[in-house]
């Protein structure tokens, strides 16, 4: 009987110790206000700049470089946070010049010189929704 009580006590202590260990193990980074602000402000800036793609790229090259620098900063910030690999990967896909989203839209504009207004409307919708994927994930972390 003493052996059974001792065994149960050891199991309880082990369970409690496991709870403590598991409680300390984070699966994903917590909500970050700076990350949220990067995503929301760059969404607005990117969409405003895309609107200009019906004009010659050369007239907006500086604005493009400024925007993409900010996007790079947002990526590096996300990449630097622990347990934040998913958000970092999202920024990486978004900014990739050889990808299929914002980075490659800029490359298309550069290559073609200027784009049709209808394609800009469609592309803005695409980029907007993809910024929303980043924002929604960030907001979901708020308890």
């Amino acid at each position: 009987m003493m052996t059974k009580v001792l065994r149960h006590s050891v199991i309880m202590l082990m369970l409690f110790a496991s709870f403590c260990l598991i409680a300390g193990c984070k699966l994903i980074a917590e909500y970050n206000q700076v990350a949220y602000e990067y995503a929301t402000s760059l969404k607005a800036e990117a969409l405003a700049l895309m609107e200009k793609a019906s004009e010659p790229y050369a007239d907006h090259e500086e604005d493009v470089e400024e925007l993409m620098l900010e996007v790079e900063k947002a990526y590096e910030y996300a990449n630097g946070l622990p347990k934040n690999e998913i958000s970092a990967e999202q920024w990486k896909i978004l900014k990739d010049k050889e990808g299929t989203l914002l980075g490659s839209f800029i490359e298309l504009w550069k290559k073609e010189g200027q784009l049709s207004e209808i394609s800009i409307v469609e592309a803005k919708e695409v980029v907007s929704k993809n910024f929303d994927q980043i924002i929604e994930l960030e907001v979901a972390r708020i308890r």
Binding site: H8, I11, M12, L15, F16, F19, I22, A23, K26, L27, I28, I86, S87, E89, Q90, I93, L94, G99, T100, L101, S104, F105, L108, K111, E112, L115, S116, I118, S119, E122, A123, V126, K129, N130, Q133, I134, E136, L137, A140, R141
Partner: protein, 108 residues
């Protein structure tokens, strides 16, 4: 006399209920969200094809739009993966709260 096996069985039942409530609902939501996403993508592709046929967009613009569906799918999948981790994290915390509550109720 305290029955440890009954206590453990009670703990397991409580954890199962938490899993059904918290994770089961998430699985249903994720499935519906995926269906909605695919439906939207299909509508987008159809619309872009019509725009190309009408000559409203160039071949290069059309190719960018179609390719963007791939990037969008990756972004969506990443978001869903993140939401799942958040749900699991919350489930884990709920289980710990439940277990600690039960153990303290037993001791005090």
């Amino acid at each position: 006399m305290f029955d440890f096996d009954d206590f453990l069985s009670d703990l397991l039942d409580g954890m199962e209920d938490l899993a059904k409530d918290m994770l089961g609902e998430h699985a249903k939501e994720a499935l519906q969200d995926s269906k909605d996403f695919l439906e939207e993508t299909k509508e987008d592709l159809e619309r872009w094809t019509k725009l190309l046929a009408k000559g409203d967009i160039s071949k290069e613009e059309f190719e960018w739009l179609v390719a963007s569906a791939k990037g969008s799918a990756k972004m969506y999948a990443l978001k869903e993966a993140g939401l799942t981790l958040i749900k699991i994290e919350r489930f884990k915390n709920a289980v710990i709260d439940f277990l600690v509550g039960k153990v303290f109720a037993l001791i005090f």
